[in-house]
Symmetry: C2
Subunit: 139 residues, 2 copies
Amino acid sequence: MKYSQATDYALHAMLLLVSEESDRPTSVQSLAEKLRVSPTYLSKLLAKLVKAGLIRSMPGANGGYRLKRGRDEISFLDVIQAIEGNASMFECSFEHGSECLIQQVVSEAERQMEGYLENRKLAELAAELKSRQTARRHD
Amino acid sequence: MKYSQATDYALHAMLLLVSEESDRPTSVQSLAEKLRVSPTYLSKLLAKLVKAGLIRSMPGANGGYRLKRGRDEISFLDVIQAIEGNASMFECSFEHGSECLIQQVVSEAERQMEGYLENRKLAELAAELKSRQTARRHD
DNA sequence: GCGTGATTACTCGGATACAAGATGTCCGAGTTTGAGCGG
DNA sequence: CCGCTCAAACTCGGACATCTTGTATCCGAGTAATCACGC
């Protein structure tokens, strides 16, 4: 079981958007260059993030993408579920009267992980990265 | 991101083996019938469980599979990792000096889930199922 | 009865086939900005 | 200087190609128990 590479791209792209201080939108090209990723593919992922309500798109010249909500509200879980979908990781394929003890255990494990991911915000990392840069500037 | 169906089969098959009270080995056919699953495919999964050291195989007539360790020692995590492998769920594909903050967060989330799965043993479910059967017999 | 060989009931491993999903590209359409041009 | 038009810079969505992975099957080989047969 593995998270798709798309999730990797999306998390890094979102981290860039959260770190962005200008209020002008950021274009796909700009993001794709920083991440060294195909712009067309990245735009597919950004479309999913738009649909999930995490970012807004601004078409036209000087357009691009921008956060929709406050930067402190965006958790890892938000981004991951936007890309991977929010279906359960485990679905019992047998028919034992609609309640499967195995299913319950694995689902609870999943909730443990999601609970953690929900509490970690991208803005934490953005702040951490910024403070590192500042520290390095004072060397 | 989803656990493969193979994990579903393997967990149910292991639960049957843990619940088995006879010390005679259980054949693939027998397991496959109870689970209504292709015997040939199931045998592939059992082979993985053998390689992981969870069960033993006994070739020849009246052969089959049997637990290798004590039934109380087998956790959900053991079975899942035997099937899915123990590689990390998330691998950052970028090159930021070998340490990626995003990677660290997701890996920690993974540890949360694995910690839970490691503490849940299949024998718990076997006991629960057995007590339910007994209770129903006394209706 | 008793060994010896054949048969049967199993697992094991590799090769193969197929479908679905992940990854990535291409192109046409819509939308906004801004520049250029004529009055 | 104003307004109109047009081109440029974007996003959006669908269609398509490719590659990997999960799922599943088949077959030959190895192994252990059991049965049959000859002595």
